[in-house]
């Protein structure tokens, strides 16, 4: 079992609406996976089910040999501490300085009384500074987070996630609010970090070009199902168009039903390609 994360038949419904209709995916360490798909496909729902920010209705999420879907309370928090998360709107604590924001990544590992005293060990402060140094922000450590630019905030967000020393990194549209240049910087750093630390990184993106450029593996999600899975090379323009096409695309017509989940990965990719051709 080499995978860090194994998702099996994951389902989520909001009222009558099925946001996830049985998703089966495995993730390996050191791999940079990008999930693409149209708005409402269930990308955010999928990624947020993994660390249980959203409670799934069915299926299994096995992370580091723990069943995430069954965890509660302290046990859940303990697992969450091992999963870093990066947000579209950075979600830093606005009126708190950069260094403290990065150190928040340690809260899940500290006993309450220690965090109340703000008594982070010297070694962790040192590590936070090193992380900031990597993204070129160590000279901004005492700046208030809300005085930074978007690109800088996102880099602080990444530092906070890395401060958790995670095995798994989840990012929900991390560059959707950034200009192209900052987006490149952020993606570059995410990719590099994934390789260096042997992390498993899952990123939701809207931009297919970015997915092609950075991903080791691309997953296409549509209407709560996996409709594509493969390397960037196998994602042709036509397939990409099909993933984003509305309602009655040919892909959707041919691959609906619960059987999609059971098709082997290679078959699925091949099928996508023949459909696209």
């Amino acid at each position: 079992m080499t995978q860090v994360l194994s998702v099996c038949d994951l389902r989520k419904r909001y009222g009558k609406f099925e946001a996830l209709r049985g998703v089966d995916l495995d993730f390996e360490p050191g791999k940079f996976t990008v999930i693409i798909g149209p708005s409402g496909a269930g990308k955010s729902t999928f990624i947020r089910c993994i660390n249980r920010m959203v409670d799934p209705d069915g299926g299994e999420i096995v992370f580091d040999s723990a069943h995430m879907e069954q965890l509660r309370g302290a046990a859940l928090r303990q697992r969450r501490a091992m999963i870093g998360m990066i947000f579209q709107h950075y979600n830093l604590v606005a009126r708190t300085n950069v260094l403290r924001n990065v150190l928040h990544g340690r809260l899940g590992y500290m006993p309450l009384w220690k965090s109340l005293l703000g008594a982070y060990p010297e070694s962790e402060k040192r590590r936070a500074l090193d992380l900031l140094d990597e993204v070129g922000l160590s000279d901004q450590m005492y700046k208030r987070a809300d005085t930074l630019s978007g690109g800088q905030m996102q880099r602080v967000g990444i530092c906070r996630a890395l401060m958790q020393a995670p095995k798994l990194l989840l990012a929900d549209e991390p560059i959707a609010s950034l200009d192209p240049k900052s987006a490149e910087v952020v993606m570059e750093h995410l990719k590099q970090t994934t390789k260096q630390r042997g992390l498993c990184c899952i990123v939701n993106l809207h931009q297919v070009e970015f997915a092609r450029k950075y991903a080791d593996r691309i997953i296409g999600l549509k209407a709560g199902r996996v409709v594509f899975e493969g390397s960037p090379a196998t994602l042709s323009d036509a397939v990409a168009r099909d993933i984003y096409e509305n309602a009655e695309s040919r892909l959707e017509n041919q691959l609906t039903g619960a059987d999609i989940a059971r098709i082997e990965d290679e078959e699925r990719v091949a099928l996508c390609e023949t459909v696209a051709a």
């Binding site: 979600n91 606005a94 928040h104 906070r160």
Partner: protein, 271 residues
């Protein structure tokens, strides 16, 4: 067919609404007339007494210097009562509002019951709360303080909740994702961005609390309010004027001070 439609005059409001307005107006006038009649106002008596008004007013144009020190001292005790209730009330409110705000509550039912309780407290006038406290623990300043806690918390919790809910889920989710516990999320994720608005609400409440603690004199809570009641009962016009001036000057000072504090706080937020 089409011609007919264009020939018809265009109404600015649909007919149903156009009819509704005069109907509501008529209803309101009726309600007003009935209420005035129900009051049994004795206009004749009022007019005959009106002739005396000059004489009565002249009694009030007097200032009793010897009452001044006592009035100031009593004022101070009223202020302390108001501030005391504010201090205790704000601590209670801080805890309860974090438990009740939609985005921070650990339990939805707990949140609903706190919000329901606050609605109840706010529906009942402060004086009634004090009377209820007096009925259960007797007359005195303790009753005043405990009674004053109800409107204080009613106001503060409602305002605090609004400010907390304004902050949304963003940072809360981010800290949840790090595995932080509830208390840590509140302390490090929510509170830093809230301090100024919470202080602003609290300072705003100071004014109400002092005013209410003065009015508690009517139900026997000691302070400048009860001193005023005694003076009124004895028709000591000069004393009444002196006390009223003390109250007026105090309230004005407090209002100006609170205004300054809030301006400082708000300036801090926009910076």
């Amino acid at each position: 067919m089409k011609m007919k439609e264009t020939a018809k005059k265009i109404q600015l409001t649909p007919l149903s609404t156009a009819l509704k307005t005069p109907l509501i107006a008529a209803l309101l006038v009726t309600v007003f007339v009935v209420s005035v009649m129900a009051l049994h106002l004795d206009i004749a008596k009022f007019q005959s007494r009106l002739a005396n008004i000059g004489k009565t007013l002249s009694h009030f144009v007097a200032f009793d210097i010897p009452t001044l020190p006592k009035a100031l001292l009593e004022m101070l005790s009223s202020i302390s009562l108001g501030i005391g209730a504010l201090a205790i009330g704000s601590v209670i409110s801080l805890a309860l509002s974090f438990l009740a705000a939609a985005n921070t509550t650990p339990n939805r039912f707990l949140a609903a019951s706190i919000k329901g309780g606050i609605a109840l407290i706010r529906a009942v006038p402060a004086l009634v709360w004090v009377l209820m406290v007096i009925a259960s623990i007797g007359f005195g300043n303790t009753s005043g303080l405990v009674g004053l806690l109800f409107p204080t918390c009613g106001y503060l919790i409602k305002s605090f909740i609004a400010s907390i809910e304004d902050k949304g889920m963003g940072t809360i989710e981010a800290l949840q994702a790090t595995g932080a516990g509830w208390f840590e999320i509140m302390l490090f994720g929510v509170l830093p961005g809230l301090l100024t608005s919470l202080l602003s609400w609290t300072s705003m409440r100071l004014e109400h609390n002092i005013a209410e603690s003065i009015s508690l004199g009517m139900v026997g809570v000691s302070g400048v309010g009860s001193m005023l009641m005694r003076a009124l009962g004895n028709y000591h016009y000069a004393e009444i004027t002196t006390i009223t001036v003390v109250i007026f000057v105090t309230m004005l000072t407090v209002e100006l001070a609170v205004g300054q504090v809030r301006k400082k706080l708000n300036g801090d937020t926009t910076k």
